[in-house]
Amino acid sequence: MIKKIYFQSIFFSFLFFKEAFAAESGGMPQLNPEFWISQVFWLILTFGTMYIVLSKFILPKISNNLESRKSQILENIEAAEKQREDSEAKLKEYDEIILKSKSEAKNMFNQTREKALKDIVAKKEVLDQQIDDEINKAEEEIEVLRVSAPDKINKIAIETSSELLEKLIGSGVNSSSISAIVDDLFRRHGDKYYGN
């Protein structure tokens, strides 16, 4: 497509040239040697100046910049690599410390627990002993009381009944006969009054 346009336009431009050349004499300005010397002179002057300035001042600077950037990047990469290794080592160290302190803490916990358990057991034993002692003592006292209680009750019963009879009847009653009755009653109903 572009080729076709290209050729067509060249064709058209030739038509155009014919007209133009018919109207204006001359032809291609490129082939007019009037300013050739001037163009050559200015070309050498400008291109030469540009070449000298570029090669002496600007291109070395650019190449220097590129080199220094390259070396700096390499240096930075090296430094980064080193720091990475350092940090990895530190991380390892840190992990080890953590692991160690963890096991230490576990040990400490276990030891403390065992000690506490031992203490508790010892104290419990002592307390149990004391409690047993107290219970025994109390049981002994109760036993003593239990043994002595019926006699006292009998005595109180005999005295009360003799006084009661004296007031009711008006004369003294033989205390031995009353105690015999109380004993008899106690034998028959003692269980009912004193539990056991």
Partner: protein, 244 residues
């Protein structure tokens, strides 16, 4: 004047006539655009090389990308021996590129559309390459004209062809650039003239062609600068590393 598509290539004097002896070296519009191109190149690359930060700014990036582009082009075609000629090829590429690109701006003058300019550049390259070749290889450089592995019967013919092709290098190099620039600019002018002559009714078609051609010509402007530089590299390669 505006109707003639060739009038854009006219060279005219700006300011007084300057004569040195019999030679007229007056300042012309061609001189003006040579100076514009070189000054722009120097300004851009000076700005691009001023600061040296690890993270380049736009100008620095432009300068460094151009530098590495040309450096890669040279090392790919002419090898590491061509390093001393880097500055010349870089200047050449940038000069041709900027002259071509400045020519793409309307009402400007295209320096490289003149055969005398491209011919002087090409001749300088031709002579320089030949001198480098004789300095590096002595008369052994003439082996360039005798390719290896050719039957002895064909040798006289081949040598003549090689010599003619070698001697036509400056012509082919200069005419390629000059003709491309001239043809492109003439064509754009012709289409521009069609837009005017066909007016509001029929002018839209040549206008769209004109737009497309502008894009094409920008591509050609870059491509021709690249071709000019890379052919210089190839000639330099012949002179530095004798392959035949």
């Amino acid at each position: 004047m505006a109707a003639n598509p060739m009038s854009q290539f006219d060279v005219y004097r700006i300011g007084p006539e300057i004569k040195v002896g019999a030679f007229d070296i007056s300042f012309t519009n061609a001189s003006l655009f040579m100076i514009t191109s070189t000054v722009s190149i120097l300004l851009i690359f000076n700005l691009g090389s001023k600061r040296n930060s690890v993270l380049p700014n736009k100008m620095q990036l432009l300068a460094e990308l151009s530098y590495t582009f040309v450096a890669k082009m040279i090392s790919d075609t002419a090898g590491s021996k061509a390093k001393p000629y880097f500055a010349f090829i870089f200047s050449l590429f940038m000069f041709v590129l900027f002259c071509n690109m400045f020519g793409m701006i309307p009402y400007t003058f295209t320096v490289t559309s003149h055969i005398i300019v491209t011919f002087i550049l090409a001749t300088f390259i031709f002579i320089g390459v030949t001198v480098i070749g004789f300095i590096k290889h002595g008369f052994g450089y003439l082996k360039l004209f005798v390719p290896s592995g050719v039957p002895a019967v064909l040798l006289p013919l081949i040598v003549v062809i090689e010599i003619i092709s070698y001697l036509s290098r400056p012509i082919s190099l200069s005419v390629r650039l000059f003709a491309n620039m001239m043809a492109g600019h003439t064509m754009m002018k012709v289409f521009g003239g069609f837009v005017i002559s066909l007016g509001l009714v029929g002018g839209w078609l040549p206008l769209s062609f004109s737009v497309a051609l502008t894009g094409l010509e920008i591509l050609v402007a870059f491509l021709q600068a690249y071709v000019f530089a890379i052919l210089t590299c190839i000639y330099l390669n012949d002179a530095l590393n004798l392959h035949h």
